[in-house]
């Protein structure tokens, strides 16, 4: 093999702590290397051209680039060598930036290590084989998981683009968190007025199939050909027949059911429709609270239902859907703020969350838009807002900024004044983060036009004093202690990954960070992709986001899906396992351990042999490390390739 080695300076990113010229000089002494040089920016156009030229001039048939992580530019350089007529698998990368130059300043040690990494790469390259992808057809349907605003946007964009869309929503209505909001910042327009029509569009779009009150049970397959098992949870109501008239809910005698839609500031009925604009507008029974389901007595709803759609015997149902791509838009949940004992840890009824307050402000909420103290139903006069509850707080394990609380707090302060002109709002904040179009102007309005008293500092304690709550905090600008006698305290509770996000990630085989937020393919360049082909992200499941960003991501994810589906066939990754039929003894251990069922037994001239189905194989290599005689080899990570790297590093 004739190998060319290109050692990248990456400007000063590598060159500052690695002597790239020395690395290139050392590489010239390696077996097979016939050309080695150091270049300023190998990934730039002149840098790539240099590779192409060298391949032609020196007749190279293998290339090593020592630069950044292959996760960054392997694809780039594979295309480069392909452009020069080489098979793209006759290329190896040595990661001398993330794994060398950026993690130490010892130039001698770094240079030495870089030489080692280049040698490993070139030794492996000598064992590389040209690989050729296979084409396979794709199923141009897309699954959207989560019916919040991001999911709705992605679904509508895909559906309008002509794709068949399957949407799965965990709760009994779509709309997500946005549906619970009264108004939106910075325009203070009505949330349900802008979201409502979009929800209706989802329900009515001929290309969209909606499974509400359903969850993802199982995901199998791969990009282009996923097979999804959806669990339709039992609602005890035949939704095909239910008209959403609401008589059942009216007559239901069980009045103490948890009202999750209203953030538990009120109770609902055991049979309920979450809110008037729910999509689908169908009733469901919460078995926990239904006397009929618990004790076999009652049956009022069945009696009053005009369409006879109550079915107490209903069971969970499983449906299989085949799709080619998946968009996850599972959103966020609120941090459990009761760990803050200094805010009462949940003992004081008049300390509420921002989302509870939102329901209180909403004209369609349980208080009909009237602000009332939960303890005594009185109108509050002094309202204290505390920001960064479960955000930017290492002590509760939430060091990140939720990002949108500053804005909604300002909005809620403004709305408070609108609702109760005689009231006074106080906002305890750490910093105001109002970066966005018209955002800073909005917070200023809250301060200047609505007389909100913004106090920069944390609250150290809330305790009851008479029928008021004494809120004590620091005013760090004034350098004093502040005490406010409040009637109501609203906590701007931070966002965290939605419950069950990590479980879903395991099914999707995508990564998530330590807070449960999904990892994007690249923090800058692949914001809606994941490292699993065919799985995309939209909205707050990737990290806290406000409505405009969530919507933008929904559209971006849809664009990615439409792009993927613009081809009729996809190329399979040829980095899959193959069986050396001469060496295989048909013991079946690979078949037993393959997680994808990609290996099947075949009869070969009367002998049992293993056979890999290339399009199903995902290239994990478990079979290769299982096969005792090395008959199954994962292409591009064969035993000999890995051994050559080991041997390049360790030779007695």
């Amino acid at each position: 093999m004739k190998i060319g080695v290109f050692v990248c300076h990456c400007g000063s990113n590598i060159e500052a702590t690695v002597d790239t010229a020395t690395v290139a000089a050392a590489a010239r002494e390696f077996p097979g290397v016939v050309f080695a040089t150091d270049t300023m920016y190998t990934c730039s156009e002149p840098g790539q051209d240099e590779i192409v030229d060298a391949i032609k001039e020196h007749n190279l048939d293998g290339i090593v680039v020592a630069s950044c992580s292959p996760r960054m530019h392997e694809q780039t350089f594979r295309r480069t060598v392909e452009r020069a007529g080489l098979n793209k698998y006759l290329f190896e990368m040595a990661n001398i930036r993330e794994h060398v130059s950026w993690i130490g300043k010892d130039r001698e040690a770094n240079t030495n290590k870089a030489v080692d990494l280049v040698r490993m790469a070139s030794e492996k390259l000598m064992n590389n084989q040209p690989l050729y992808p296979k084409k396979f057809t794709i199923n141009k349907r897309v699954l959207i998981i989560g019916g919040g605003v991001a999911g709705i946007q992605a679904a509508l964009d895909c559906a309008d683009g002509g794709l068949e869309v399957v949407m799965v929503e965990k709760t009994s209505t779509i709309g997500g968190k946005m549906a619970k909001l009264d108004k939106t910042f910075p325009t203070v327009d009505c949330s349900s007025c802008i979201l409502g029509p979009r929800m209706v569009d989802v329900a009515q779009h001929p290309n969209i199939t909606l499974y509400a009150f359903s969850e993802i049970e199982e995901i199998n397959g791969y990009v282009g050909n996923f097979e999804i098992k959806v669990k339709k949870k039992a609602t005890y109501v035949d939704w095909d027949a239910c008209t959403g008239c609401g008589i059942c809910m009216e007559k239901c005698p069980s009045k103490k059911a948890t009202d999750t839609f209203n953030e538990e500031i009120d109770f609902t009925k055991a049979i309920n429709i979450p809110f008037a604009q729910a999509i689908p507008k169908k009733a469901k029974i919460d078995p926990e609270f239904c006397t009929m389901l618990k004790k076999g007595k009652c049956g009022v709803c069945a009696k009053v239902c005009p369409s006879g759609c109550i079915d107490y015997e209903m069971k969970d149902e499983f449906i299989t859907e085949k799709v080619g791509a998946i968009v996850t838009a599972t959103g966020f949940d609120l941090f459990d703020w009761t760990v803050y004992e200094e805010y009462g840890g949940g003992r004081y009824p008049d300390v509420i969350t921002s989302l509870q307050y939102e329901r209180m402000l909403s004209a369609s909420g349980p208080t009909g838009g009237h602000i009332k103290r939960p303890s005594d139903g009185k109108e509050p006069k002094d309202v204290v807002f505390i920001q960064c509850v479960g955000s930017r707080d290492k002590s509760v394990g939430r060091p990140y900024c939720t990002g949108f609380c500053c804005m909604y707090t300002a909005k809620q302060a403004i709305l408070t004044k609108d609702h109760l002109p005689g009231s006074q709002s106080y906002v305890f904040y750490m910093d105001i983060r109002a970066a966005g179009k018209l955002y800073d102007e909005f917070t200023r309005r809250a301060m200047e036009e609505y007389d909100t008293n913004y106090i920069r500092g944390r609250v150290s304690m809330i305790y009851p004093k008479g029928d008021k709550l004494l809120v004590r905090g620091a005013d760090t600008l004034m350098g004093t202690q502040v005490e406010v006698d409040a009637d109501l305290v609203v906590l701007a509770v931070g966002a965290e990954a939605s419950k069950g996000a990590s479980k879903l990630a395991e099914k999707l085989r995508i990564s998530y960070d330590s807070y449960g937020f999904y990892m994007e393919g690249h923090p800058k360049l692949k914001p809606v992709e994941t490292n699993t082909a065919g799985v995309y992200l939209a909205g707050a499941c990737q990290g806290p986001k406000d409505i405009p960003s969530s919507v933008a991501q929904g559209s971006a994810a849809a664009a990615k899906v439409l792009g993927l589906f613009s081809k009729d066939q996809l190329e399979s990754d040829p980095q899959v396992s193959t069986v050396d039929i001469k060496r295989c003894i048909g013991c079946g251990k690979c078949i037993q351990t393959c997680p994808f069922g990609a290996i099947k037994e075949i009869d070969f001239r009367g002998m049992i042999k293993a056979n890999v189905i290339e399009t199903i194989c995902q290239g994990c290599g478990i079979c290769t490390s299982t096969c005792p005689q090395g008959a199954v080899q994962l292409q591009h990570s064969t035993d000999n390739q890995i051994l050559s790297e080991v041997n390049a590093l360790c030779q007695f």
Binding site: Y340, E341, E342, G345, R347, M461, Y463, P464, K465, G466
Partner: protein
């Protein structure tokens, strides 16, 4: 119940002076509950405020020496009633894990100190090792009719990472014990507020303000008495109560007990054994009323 609870006991300096009744009652209740205490031989000051404001290694050296003394007793845990001592002993153990600091401290001592010993408060072992349920079984004179608030002070459970006991913001250990003793416990919202503590000498006005607020709150919530677990808190609220009244124009007359005293009372110990006579705000009327309530109940039965 663990029948063989056995601890090294570190009384701390205040037990020989201002909080002698805390020491007396702590020893008395342990004896009554069958918890064995062995005094740390030749104990010295823990290195509290005066020392640690000057030099951390000096402060830790004092504590390290005491911990070493405990280790030499062959015991692996030590208890103390005083939160200041507790904080210092625990801090020393924690800081001594750092090699450089350890060397610095050991240089100050005659011999390198073994600081592996665990220190706990008397309150902590009562709750965790002995168990409130077991205490309840030993109650012979319930504190019926006593309306009490539990005041923990600011250092008993702080910093939480070091103390590893109860909640830093909303502790319940004393509340639960008092309830087990038959008292009526009213939630005291300022249970972890500062009393002014060591400002007692240089800035008396601070104490007047902070401790005054505590007494005001106690009155507001209807507490007839407060229980504490800290000699400094007790001193500020009890000894200085008349000064506070004078400064703030209030008329508080709220007895401030160590929780061990009330516990002892419920266990049937005498007022003398518990040092009730050492309190500045006389608990007499209150104690009598408890006795009376009890008599009424007995009669009714």
């Amino acid at each position: 119940m663990n029948t063989s609870l056995n601890y090294a006991y570190y009384p701390g300096c205040s037990s020989t002076g201002t909080s002698v009744e805390y020491d007396m009652s702590s020893r008395a209740i342990c004896a009554a509950l069958g918890i064995q205490l062995q005094d740390v031989p030749d104990w010295s000051c823990c290195g509290s405020t005066p020392a640690h404001t000057v030099d951390h290694s000096l402060s830790s050296a004092l504590s390290a020496r005491n911990l070493d003394q405990v280790a030499s007793m062959g015991l692996d845990s030590c208890i103390t009633p005083c939160p200041s001592c507790l904080a210092n002993l625990k801090t020393a153990k924690h800081k001594m894990q750092d090699e450089n600091f350890r060397d610095k401290v050991n240089k100050l001592l005659e011999k390198p100190a073994n600081t592996q010993v665990e220190t706990k408060s008397v309150l902590q072992i009562l709750v965790e090792d002995y168990g409130i349920e077991n205490i309840k079984k030993k109650v012979v004179k319930p504190l019926t009719g006593l309306v009490v608030g539990a005041y923990y002070g600011c250092i008993l459970n702080r910093p939480a990472e070091l103390m590893q006991f109860d909640s830093r913001e909303h502790p319940m250990a004393m509340d639960n014990i008092m309830e087990a003793l038959g008292a009526t416990v009213v939630p005291f919202p300022l249970k972890v507020e500062c009393c002014g503590a060591s400002f007692g000498i240089p800035r008396k006005d601070v104490v007047m303000r902070l401790s005054g607020k505590l007494l005001d709150t106690a009155q507001e919530i209807g507490a007839l008495a407060l229980v504490t677990a800290c000699p400094l808190c007790q001193m500020n609220l009890d000894m200085r109560q008349s000064q506070i009244n004078r400064a703030n124009g209030t008329k508080h007359n709220i007895p401030i007990f160590y929780f061990t005293q009330l516990l002892g009372l419920a266990l049937g110990l005498t007022e003398k054994e518990l040092g009730m006579d050492k309190l500045c705000v006389s608990p007499r009327t209150l104690l009598n009323s408890i006795a009376k309530e009890e008599q009424i109940k007995e009669k009714a039965a």
